[in-house]
Symmetry: C2
Subunit: 202 residues, 2 copies
Amino acid sequence: MARVSASERRRQLVEAAFRVIGAEGFAAATTRRICAEAGAPVAAFHYCFASKEELLVELTEATVAALVDAQAGGVLVRGSVAESLRATLHEYWATVEADPNREVVLTGLTQYALHEPSLAGVAARQYEAYHRTARLTLESLAAGCGVSWTLPVTELARMLVVVTDGVVIAWLVDRDGDAARAALDAFADALSGFAVSAVSHR
Amino acid sequence: MARVSASERRRQLVEAAFRVIGAEGFAAATTRRICAEAGAPVAAFHYCFASKEELLVELTEATVAALVDAQAGGVLVRGSVAESLRATLHEYWATVEADPNREVVLTGLTQYALHEPSLAGVAARQYEAYHRTARLTLESLAAGCGVSWTLPVTELARMLVVVTDGVVIAWLVDRDGDAARAALDAFADALSGFAVSAVSHR
DNA sequence: AAGCGTCTGGGACAACTGACCAACTTCGGG
DNA sequence: CCCGAAGTTGGTCAGTTGTCCCAGACGCTT
């Protein structure tokens, strides 16, 4: 076996955990299973991580970062706010269907972190990142389309997160992509109702 | 220990599992932990249930039924569709905050069932029940307010489920009741945009 | 070439898990 | 009153889990 640096091993183990959880669920993510997936001896696990939780924390943060990055430049400006929101949500949805495991891991992680004291705060940080990204999206959208929101952006951001989260979970259960896209479209229209063309004084 | 019928014991064990999962999460729901919570010897578990999965299936169905029942007569007709939807969602939200464990168990169960082949179909049935209830709510709402929907009820039902699900999860993470209620209100208004006063021919 | 920190490997541990058994007690109908 | 069915019990099984240890192999510096 090729010798690998500890930091590289960490990355390998995190990626292996990602694959295992995505394919077989959270309960299957034992240290042995993860090491087998990574092609590493069990001892390498505790050489690289002080505990299993440490791996989980790193996995969460890496996966959230992947989501946020994927969405970073993701605001598409079309004719109207509604069309722009639709396009932006479509683009997001493409990344979901391209890598469903990301969402499987994320939702599972949230659930797990909710009850594990050692992961307290991880779920909170995860959702803060969601809200921040959503707020950014809404603000660029408003700027790009020349509108302003009739509700505080914080509230709208929460609504956006609620929608994406809810649609993802429903889709994970029934894998009905058409229904998911239809729901996203309808939500895009509905949320656009909270935009008014910006008064151009000053 | 008082002698109890097997069916009564089953109920006791299901309730104990409900309490354990609600308080300590899904991973803590071992047969021993559940039996301790129910005040029953471990062997009673496998006298009443063939396996742990059987308990879980019964727990899921009982909890979903509780949710559906709580929502059964829950359509409140006020002046407009928006107000009615708001009132109905408020009533739903009251049941959530009155018994958060119900939602903790439900979301955890969904996550668990997603990867456990033995529970395949359980999550699907769970969401079918959600959608059915949502559709019923929307139809009574339309009838009560004298409006009709501009989108297929099936689609709107999915949107309703998405919203409640998403709001619940966000709330489970940050426990911000005000934000949750504000989001529900805004969604009520947004979804009311898909209603038009019914043309009264025939 | 020698030395040293870094990484590997197999094995071991104690704790815990779901499942099961065989013996015991209680109950209700004949 | 008795007997079989229903319910209870503690103990036990094999398997799995997270964690740890230690001897050895590697590769970089001197």
